[in-house]
């Protein structure tokens, strides 16, 4: 099968196994979030959650260039990044259910899922909170010469936080190996980027910090992969940070309390019609990477994995009440 210049970047660059795994992760994200939503409705999960259904390509394609030594920082809408970076849905559900088996032993919940061993430094409840931290992780890599790259996920809302500007400036001044990936889903809660952000494209912000900035269709798996791969390669070469803006859309509301008063059904439907999973699946089929039955099998397996994950979480252990102050500080050294 020919891989000429018209072949999408992802198909040219990655082997079939990697691409099939990417599709699996996208389905996992979709079903994980649908499962989480269903569990919430059934009262199995308390608190709230921020769903990224519709944004799966951005999460998975951005993580594609990374190894377990590389780091990411994530956001409150972070389930996709987490799965993209290799987390197990069972332990994620366990965290959702507040169980000891969860990634944070039930202390963090949806907004703080992390897997430090896989380089996921954690979701963050503070808009823009993870951006300087990502830069710090990049500083470690540069200082210790580990060769690791950090991808810093953030939303369009964060681009107006002071932390964003301070961190991008520091990263540029110190030429740190970090890629800022903005998932622009058009709304910071209810406020559109048009109403909140002075520049048309958030990628334009990069110019102020003398780093490359590019805007891509965030629902196009290959487009995202291409932009991020290039930025990661640049970082690994020691040429400093880049900014990639993935234009995407969350199908669901901001959180479970959202009544969707700020956008129209037509707008939502038009984005649902651009489902990144279906697009990727069709692309794989078109280029002969995966036929329909193969894709169905991946989809079914992802569904089962999510069901198993929920069952695992339901059977988890509740934390001991006496341990409410455990993990505030390191255990005393003996």
């Amino acid at each position: 099968m020919a891989k000429d210049d018209n072949t999408p970047f992802a198909i040219r660059r990655y082997d079939a196994e990697t691409l099939r795994e990417a599709l699996r992760k996208m389905y996992l994200i979709r079903f994980f979030e649908e499962g989480a939503e269903d569990s919430y409705t059934r009262g199995l999960i308390h608190g709230t959650m921020h769903l990224s259904i519709g944004q799966e390509a951005s999460a998975v394609a951005s993580c594609l260039p990374l190894t377990d030594d590389d780091k990411i920082t994530s956001t409150h809408r972070g389930h996709g990044h987490c799965i993209g970076k290799g987390a197990e849905v069972g332990r994620m559900f366990a965290e959702f259910f507040g169980k000891e088996e969860g990634y944070c032993h039930g202390r963090g919940g949806s907004m703080h899922i992390a897997d430090v061993t896989k380089g996921n430094l954690g979701a963050n409840g503070i808009v823009g909170g993870g951006i300087p931290i990502a830069v710090g992780a990049a500083l470690t890599a540069k200082q210790l010469g580990t060769g690791a790259v950090t991808i810093c996920f953030f939303g369009d809302g964060a681009n107006n936080e002071g932390a964003f500007h301070e961190a991008l400036n520091i990263a540029a001044v110190w030429k740190l190996p970090v890629v800022f990936v903005c998932e622009n889903n058009k709304y910071g809660m209810s406020t559109s980027t048009e109403r909140s952000t002075a520049v048309k494209d958030i990628a334009q912000r990069a110019a102020a910090y003398s780093m490359p900035g590019v805007t891509v269709d965030g629902n196009d798996f290959s487009a995202v992969a291409e932009a991020v791969q290039e930025a990661v390669d640049r970082a690994r070469r020691g040429e400093g940070p880049s900014l990639v803006e993935n234009l995407t859309y969350r199908w669901r509301g901001h959180s479970k309390s959202d009544r969707n008063r700020y956008r129209t059904k037509d707008e939502i439907d038009s984005w649902i019609a651009r489902d990144p999973i279906l697009r990727f699946r069709e692309e794989l089929a078109a280029h002969g990477v995966l036929d329909a039955s193969g894709a169905d099998a991946i989809e079914a397996a992802a569904r089962r994995e999510v069901e198993d994950g929920i069952a695992f979480a339901k059977g988890g252990t509740d934390p001991t009440i006496a341990d409410v102050t455990k993990y505030v500080y390191a255990e005393a050294r003996s």
Binding site: Y103, G129, A163, E166, Y327, V328
Partner: protein, 339 residues
């Protein structure tokens, strides 16, 4: 990083408080590649208070990093670096500027270990030049120990002597959790004996600086010295004051304070932060809840900063925080049972 136990026969020299801190940082930089210093103008400038001094010449600009004037970003970078394996010491030029970085200190550094269920560690030291008395007025003179002391996940220290300035900084550096060290600007030039070599002063342990029978003064930072001066004067009147140097605001050394109050039955808390909702409130409440309560023979007094920003005029500035004569007068009244 196990601390060698302190050898009493170890050599000491006279160093200033600032020199002792610099010595500690120099030893740490020399000992561990993971240690880096970050802060505004800490490189060739040597730090606003010349605490980092010549360290950049010895360790280079990558290890002694000047940051842009970006307290939030800089502090966040330090958090991320600590989270991923470095051991940063982050200097705020003035502790007042830490207000710009509260998000990273309070929401991120302090909570990371807990939010992640113990799966992460943020071994990070924030150094904070603090306190009034330099004529720098309201935005460069504050004492925020109690603010940070209110945050679980942080440890908060206030060394009062050159020896402790070094020992507590090294202890903070060895600690696996974020530690905020308040350095009183008026103490930077204070000279004192500082032991050679690497040693740590235990975090969470107060020091009895003067033993006494009649009443207990718990003080921190520069107030320790003012309390000792007051105690000397009162000794001439036959009033025997015990002075405790708090050293650690979080965790607080309950044991030492309770033992002292059990002995004297009278307590004054002296601190520079605003009096209300401050360290004194915490210590008073702690005593009221402790077995020392039954030994209290007078109300507990608090001497703290006035309920106002630090003013510029030198006389007003002095009046805004406890001075030795204020401590002396309060202690005298308490000892004479006039309170």
């Amino acid at each position: 990083m196990n601390a060698p136990t302190r050898n009493p026969e170890i050599q000491t020299r006279e160093l200033s408080y600032a020199e002792a801190i610099r010595e500690a940082m120099g030893m740490a930089l020399a000992r561990d590649e993971r240690v880096i210093l970050m802060g505004e103008d800490i490189g060739v400038y040597g730090g606003a208070f010349q605490v980092t001094g010549d360290l950049v010449e010895r360790f280079g600009p990558d290890r002694v990093r000047d940051t842009p004037i970006s307290e939030l970003g800089g502090a966040g970078v330090a958090v991320g670096a600590a989270l991923t394996g470095l051991r940063p010491i982050f200097e705020f030029q003035f502790s007042d500027f830490a207000t710009l970085a509260m998000e990273q200190i309070v929401n991120q550094a302090a909570k990371m270990r807990y939010m992640l269920g113990g799966e992460a560690s943020v071994p990070l030291v924030f150094r904070m030049p603090a306190g009034s008395g330099t004529g720098a007025a309201a935005q460069h003179s504050q004492s925020f120990e109690a603010w940070f002391g209110h945050v679980p996940g942080l440890k908060v220290l206030q060394p009062s002597t050159p020896e402790d300035a070094k020992g507590l900084l090294l202890a903070a550096l060895e600690d696996p959790d974020p530690v905020v060290v308040f350095e009183h600007k008026l103490l930077y030039k204070l000279k004192g004996h500082v032991p050679d070599g690497w040693y740590t002063t235990p975090i969470g342990k107060a020091a009895v600086r003067r033993e006494g029978r009649d009443l207990t003064i718990v003080a921190s930072a520069i107030m320790v010295h003012r309390a000792l001066a007051a105690a000397e004067k009162l000794a001439e009147e036959g009033i025997d004051v015990e002075v405790i140097d708090l050293r650690s605001v979080r965790p607080i050394d309950h044991e030492t304070i309770i033992a002292s109050v059990r002995k004297t039955g009278r307590l004054i808390c002296v601190y520079e932060g605003v009096r209300t909702l401050g360290i004194g409130a915490e210590i008073s409440a702690m005593i009221a809840e402790s077995e020392a309560f039954d030994y209290l023979d007078a109300p507990i007094l608090r001497l703290g900063g006035v309920e106002a920003p630090i003013p510029y005029n030198p006389e007003l500035e002095k009046a805004a925080v406890p001075q030795a004569p204020d401590i002396e007068a309060a202690a005298r009244k308490l000892a004479r049972k006039e309170v």
